[in-house]
Symmetry: C2
Subunit: 283 residues, 2 copies
């Protein structure tokens, strides 16, 4: 596994880096970003860092969260690394679609089973297996992981976390697509990537997965009330009802006046990082 450093920038006394590597899982060249908090003081007593994996939304790359969320400040203070993958496989040889909500930039954190998608579109395996193995080999990470994301990435964080409670300490999401089996974005993506048998969609639908969850990870969800996608695409009320039926405690916070943008994320990212820190840094 060869990592090529694309850029390295000091930030908050830590370092924000961007890397390129060839992903075996996705069979294409990928970029990801990582923020490493200042290590100097930590090296004596605890050289190994926990990591928060951040999954971005439709049309994003690793750069949106890196540049707009302001997460590095608290990550530096708390001593948490940030690992920020791209949102889909990339490249000229990778299947794409002219719309923003399918194909490149819209991987939906699943393993596709239909052509022309199934060869490259395996973001579920990439984020769950290949990327953590890579960064935990290359950087001073201790294998403690939390997962978070925004919109499509919030869906990804919930799905990956709910299906793999042994791999993550905690889950959080901003404005997640909570019930992709029953919203336009999700139905379009799932029918293309997974085919039209709806029972095969359930493995990627947080509102279905939460019903069968046996282990309960801490979950925090932040949702703006002025989010233009709230009713049509996000549907946190469906997840909330499913969680209550399953007796799974999920903290869903509604914030008056906030929309779907990175300004919303920037406002509450400190809260999310502190939430994850409680579990990531627990002795």
């Amino acid at each position: 596994m060869t990592l090529e450093l694309v850029s390295s920038t000091k930030a908050f006394d830590g370092v924000q880096q961007r890397y390129r590597h060839f992903s075996e899982t996705l069979d294409c060249t990928m970029h990801f970003a990582i923020f490493l908090p200042p290590m100097a003081e930590r090296m004596d007593r605890e050289p190994q860092l926990p990591a928060l994996y951040w999954l971005s939304g439709l049309t994003c790359t690793d750069e949106n969260f890196s540049q707009k969320a302001g997460a590095q400040r608290m990550a530096a203070e708390l001593g948490i690394a940030l690992v920020i993958p791209d949102t889909s496989p990339r490249g000229e040889q990778v299947a794409d679609d002219e719309n923003y909500d399918l194909g490149q930039g819209a991987g939906f954190y699943l393993n596709a089973t239909r052509d022309p998608w199934q060869h490259h579109y395996r973001m579920y395996d990439y984020v769950l297996e290949e990327l953590p193995a890579l960064v935990e080999q290359q950087f001073p990470l201790n294998g403690r992981r939390a997962i978070a994301g925004h919109s499509m990435g919030g869906h990804g964080a919930l799905v990956l976390g709910l299906r793999n409670p042994d791999r993550f300490s905690s889950i959080s999401a901003f404005s997640p697509i909570c019930n992709p089996s029953d919203c336009p974005w999700g139905e379009k993506a799932f029918s293309s990537y997974l085919g039209t048998k709806r029972e095969e969609w359930e493995a990627y639908d947080a509102s279905r997965l939460i019903e069968g969850a046996t282990e309960h990870l801490p979950i925090l969800i932040s949702q703006g009330d002025d989010d233009e996608f709230l009713q049509r695409e996000l549907k946190p009320q469906v997840l909330q009802a499913a969680a209550e039926a399953a007796d799974y405690p999920v903290k869903i916070e509604h914030h008056a006046g906030y929309d779907h943008s990175y300004y919303f994320i920037a406002t509450f990212i400190e809260q999310h990082l502190r939430f994850h820190a409680d579990f990531l840094l627990k002795p």
Copy 2:
């Protein structure tokens, strides 16, 4: 003066807005951004807000600082409005150049005196007169102003502040062009906008202006030691020497490892906002 609201987004319990208006000074349509901190608690005792004017660097619009600096968090906490103009006049009828460092996106915060620039390129007057008059009429601002900026905008902040100590309480700059009369960016811009008589450049050169300053505003400058433009374009040592010769106290802080990017700004913007708050909020 008609203001057209382009966007309005809640952030840190305040509001980040973008406006379009026709500028008489620049004779073109301009965009600017404003962040208004939460007012609810302040309304009883002090409804009027001081403002920090932020001037951005080459190639930027109002959006770079708005989205990448993370300044709204501290501005909200301190109760300071942020006023963020564009970096030049804009539009098809406005003279331009194919290079990034001249023409649109590169106004250098001066009043041009040469064709084809002199008709529209009057950013000095726009930032000093028209924009404050406009925003102080339209928003709950109290007329207390500080000025700050980055790179070309750091030059602008120093020049506007040094020439108008009655208009600003304090000046700060990240990685400013300190001696534009003697660096490639500045010489190219000044010879184009102002002509080749170098004595006419002095009114826009902080290192010359500081020599003649009779009133001493507080000045804070932050400079990264790994800034790729440090030696060739920025030259803080020239400003420092001129300030020392003039007995003008200027705080220039050098930060090891930091570069010219917005990650550097994001890291130290809290310090700059607290610096300005000491003067903007003084009874």
